[in-house]
C-alpha cells in the first residue's frame, strides 16, 4: 500500500504545487511587483501584462525543454561518442549502423510499417466511417471498432497472440485453416517476411477506430447540398464518394495519415511483446531498445535515425501550424 499512499501524496503535492505556483506568482505580480494602483497604474498594468504570459507558460516550457527539446540535442551529441561515452568517435556509430545487417532489416521493416499501417488504417477507417454513417446501428459499430484504442499495445498483442496461436484449439486462424481446408498448423509469427504484416495488422486494428472517428466527423461536415447536387447530376455512389466527398475531406485525411505514420514509426510494444524482434521482425525502436543500457552511443544514434525519418512530417506540421495562425 505504500506506493498508493505515496501516489496520493504526490497527486496532492503535485496538483497543489501547480495551482500554488500559478496562484502565487500571479499574486506576486499583481500585488507586489506591479500593483494596479497608485500613480503609475497604467504602466504597472502594462508591465504586468507583459510578464504574465510567461508565468503561465513557464512550467510547460520547462518540461518541454527538459523532456523533449534537450533530448533531441543531447541524443544527437551522445550519438557521436562510443559505448561508454568517453571517446568521441564522430559518425562511428552511424557507420556501424549502416554496416549492420540487422539495422538494415529494421530500417526496411520500419519503412514497411510506415507505409502499410497508415494505408490500411485510413482505408479501413474511411470504409467504416462511410458505412456506419448510413446505418441505424452505426453508432454501436463505431464504438466497437473504436474500442481497441483503449487497449494497450501489450494487451492487443496478447489478444492477437491468441488468434495467431499455432495450436488449432486456441488460434482462430489455424482453427479455420484446419476446419475449412484441413491444412496443417502454421505459425504465422514465424513465416519469413509475411510475419511482419501479421504484426502490423495489430496496429491497424488499433488505429482504424481513430481514423474512423475523425474521418466520419469530416464526412458529416461535408455540405449536404454538394452531395445532393451530385446525385442530381447523376453520379453513382462510388463517384460521389471518390469525386465529391474524398476531395472535400482531403486535408483531414492528410492529418490522420501523418498522425498514424508517426505512431507506426514510434511503435515498439507490439514487436517486443509478439516476437521480441526475432524471426526478422526487428524494427528501429526495438532494435534501439536492444542497445539501451548496453551501448548508449549506438542506442541514441538509432533514435536519431528515427527522428530523421520523422523530420519531414514534423516540418510539414510546423508549416501547417504557422499557416493556421495567420
Amino acid at each position: 500500500m505504500n506506493p498508493l499512499i505515496q501516489g496520493l501524496a504526490t497527486i496532492i503535492l503535485g496538483v497543489g504545487g501547480c495551482i500554488g505556483y500559478f496562484y502565487a506568482s500571479n499574486l506576486l505580480l499583481d500585488k507586489v511587483l506591479y500593483p494596479a494602483k497608485g500613480p503609475n497604474i497604467a504602466s504597472n498594468i502594462r508591465r504586468a501584462n507583459i510578464i504574465r504570459p510567461w508565468l503561465f507558460i513557464f512550467p510547460a516550457l520547462l518540461v518541454l525543454t527538459v523532456y523533449l527539446a534537450y533530448p533531441v540535442v543531447g541524443s544527437a551529441y551522445r550519438s557521436l561518442f562510443n559505448r561508454s561515452g568517453d571517446e568521441f568517435i564522430a559518425l562511428g556509430n552511424y557507420v556501424a549502423l549502416l554496416e549492420s545487417p540487422e539495422f538494415r532489416r529494421s530500417f526496411l521493416n520500419n519503412a514497411l510499417w510506415a507505409i502499410f499501417v497508415p494505408v490500411m488504417s485510413v482505408t479501413a477507417g474511411l470504409i467504416a466511417a462511410q458505412l456506419s454513417d448510413t446505418l441505424k446501428w452505426g453508432n454501436i459499430a463505431k464504438s466497437l471498432i473504436f474500442m481497441p484504442m483503449a487497449i494497450s499495445f501489450v494487451g492487443a498483442s496478447l489478444i492477437w497472440k491468441f488468434v495467431y496461436a499455432v495450436d488449432s484449439d486456441i488460434g482462430l486462424i489455424n482453427a479455420v485453416l484446419a476446419g475449412l481446408f484441413g491444412a496443417g498448423p502454421i505459425d504465422v509469427i514465424q513465416i519469413p517476411f509475411w510475419n511482419n504484416f501479421f504484426l502490423m495488422f495489430i496496429l491497424v486494428w488499433i488505429q482504424t477506430g481513430f481514423a474512423m472517428v475523425i474521418l466520419s466527423a469530416a464526412l458529416r461536415g461535408i455540405p449536404e447540398e454538394t452531395i445532393e447536387a451530385a446525385i442530381l447530376d447523376g453520379a453513382n455512389p462510388f463517384q460521389i464518394f471518390f469525386r465529391i466527398k474524398m476531395p472535400q475531406i482531403f486535408s483531414t485525411i492528410v492529418v490522420v495519415w501523418t498522425t498514424i505514420t508517426v505512431a507506426s514509426l514510434k511503435i515498439f510494444d507490439i514487436v517486443y511483446a509478439m516476437t521480441g524482434g526475432n524471426f526478422g521482425t526487428e524494427i528501429l525502436p526495438s532494435y534501439m531498445m536492444s542497445f539501451m543500457f548496453r551501448d548508449d552511443g549506438r542506442a541514441t544514434s538509432v533514435a536519431l535515425v528515427i527522428m530523421i525519418i520523422v523530420l519531414p512530417v514534423m516540418i510539414s506540421n510546423i508549416r501547417q501550424a504557422q499557416k493556421e495562425l495567420r
Binding site: A60, L135, G155, L158, I214
Partner: protein, 383 residues
C-alpha cells in the same frame, strides 16, 4: 439521404453485411480473450474458445482402488473410476460416458470402453462406458492401485480461477496498484500545466507566441525513444533515478505537446466576445482563466485526461525505462510482457485473465467517457 427516391435496397443490405463483417473482425479477438480467461486450463487446451459452451472431451488420469478379492490365485479389484479423487478433479460436473481408456500416459485412449486390456503376466483391466472397471492382477495390489487414463466428456466449465491466480499470486495485484500510482498523477499534472500554457498561447499577446506554437507542434512528433537515454541520465544525475517521481515527470513531459496542442486549439475556438466581455468586466487573466476558460474547456480537458490516462496506463516503454526493474515496482504492462509472456507463455488461461485485468480499467474508462474522447479528438484535428 435515406429518403432519396429510387434508392436500391440491395445496396443497404450489402452495407449491413459489410459493416457486420468488419465489426466481427474487430470484436472477435477480444471476445476470444474474454471467453478464454474464464475457461479452465484443461478445457482451453482441449477445445477452442468458440466451443466453450459445448462439452469437452478430456483425458483424465486416475488410479483404481486397492480393495482386492482373491479369485483363483488372482486378485480382482472392482469399482467406479469416477470415485477416484484425482479423476474427479478433472470434471466440473457429472462426467459423460467414457469413450476409451489406456494405461500409459503416452497412449491414454488405447482401448475403447468396454474392452479388456491385457497388461501382460495375466493382468487385465476392463473399463466400461459408465466408469465401472474390473482389474485382475496376479499380485496383491498393496496400497497403490493401477494407473488408468481415460477420455470422457466433461460439461463446459467456466471459472474465476484464472483471475484468482492472476490477482493473488505473482505480484499482479501489486502491479495493478503500481499502474494506478503511475497513471493518476501522470494524468492530472500535465493537464494543469498544459491548460495554463494553452490559455496563454491562445488568448494572450506576447512577442514569440507564434514561434512557440510552431515549436510545440514540432515536438509533437519527436519519438520518445530519442528522449529515453538523455532523460534517464539526467534523472540519475539529479538524484531522481528510476522511481515513480521520475516516471511522473517523464509522462508529464512526453504528454505535454499533445496536451498543449489539443487544449490550445480548443481554447482558441472559444468566442472572442466572451473573453473580451470578461476583460471589460474587470477580470484579470487569472480570473478569466479560472472562471471562464476552464469551465468552458471542460470537454477538451476531459478528453485529454482520458487520452493521457489511457496512454500512461497502457504504456510499456516509458515504464520499462523509468521504473526500477525490481518486481515490486513493475506495472502491469511490464509484468505481462516480461513475466507472463515469457515464463507462462503456455498458460493461456492465466495470460488471458492477466490481459483482461490490465485492459479492464481502460475499457471501462473508454466506454463510459467515449463521448468526451471523441469531442476532444475532433477539436484537435478537424478545424
Amino acid at each position: 439521404m435515406e429518403n432519396i427516391a429510387g434508392k436500391k435496397p440491395a445496396l443497404s443490405w450489402a452495407k449491413n453485411v459489410a459493416m457486420a463483417t468488419m465489426v466481427l473482425i474487430w470484436v472477435i479477438p477480444t471476445l476470444g480473450l474474454l471467453v478464454s480467461s474464464f475457461r479452465d486450463r484443461d478445457q482451453i487446451s482441449a477445445t477452442g474458445w468458440w466451443q466453450a459452451m459445448l462439452p469437452v472431451e478430456l483425458t483424465a488420469r486416475a488410479r483404481t482402488g486397492t480393495e482386492a478379492t482373491p479369485e483363483g490365485g488372482l486378485y480382482r479389484v472392482e469399482g467406479v473410476i469416477f470415485d477416484d479423487e484425482e479423476a474427479q478433479s478433472y470434471f466440473s460436473g457429472t462426467p459423460g460416458d467414457i469413450s476409451a481408456f489406456g494405461i500409459r500416459g503416452a497412449e491414454p485412449t488405447a482401448y475403447p470402453a468396454g474392452t479388456t486390456a491385457d497388461l501382460g503376466d495375466g493382468e487385465t483391466l476392463t473399463v466400461n462406458a459408465d466408469g465401472s472397471y474390473v482389474w485382475i492382477t496376479p499380485e496383491e495390489p498393496g496400497n497403490r492401485g493401477q494407473r488408468v487414463y481415460f477420455a470422457a466428456e466433461s460439461p463446459p466449465k467456466l471459472t474465476l480461477d484464472n483471475y484468482r491466480t492472476v490477482l493473488s499470486g505473482d505480484n499482479m495485484g501489486r502491479a495493478f496498484l503500481n499502474t494506478l500510482t503511475v497513471a493518476i498523477p501522470a494524468t492530472i499534472i500535465p493537464i494543469l500545466v498544459a491548460a495554463f500554457a494553452a490559455y496563454s498561447l491562445a488568448w494572450m499577446e506576447f512577442p514569440i507566441r507564434g514561434l512557440l506554437i510552431a515549436g510545440i507542434v514540432g515536438l509533437l512528433v519527436v519519438p520518445i525513444q530519442l528522449a529515453l537515454v538523455p532523460v534517464l541520465n539526467l534523472h540519475n544525475e539529479i538524484g531522481v533515478g528510476q522511481s515513480f517521481v521520475g516516471i511522473w515527470l517523464a509522462h508529464t513531459g512526453f504528454g505535454m505537446p499533445l496536451a498543449v496542442y489539443l487544449l490550445r486549439n480548443y481554447m482558441a475556438g472559444l468566442p472572442r466576445d466572451i473573453i473580451e466581455c470578461a476583460r471589460v468586466d474587470g477580470a484579470t487573466d487569472f480570473q478569466i482563466f479560472t472562471k471562464i476558460i476552464l469551465p468552458l474547456s471542460l470537454p477538451a480537458l476531459a478528453s485529454f485526461a482520458i487520452f493521457q490516462f489511457l496512454w500512461t496506463w497502457n504504456d510499456l516503454l516509458v515504464a520499462k525505462v523509468f521504473l526500477p526493474s525490481a518486481d515490486e515496482a513493475k506495472v502491469m504492462t511490464v509484468k505481462i510482457a516480461d513475466d507472463l509472456l515469457g515464463s507462462r507463455g503456455g498458460d493461456w488461461g492465466i495470460l488471458a485473465a492477466a490481459a483482461f485485468v490490465s485492459i479492464a480499467v481502460p475499457l471501462g474508462v473508454f466506454f463510459s467517457l467515449q463521448r468526451f474522447l471523441v469531442r476532444g479528438l475532433l477539436a484537435g484535428s478537424v478545424k
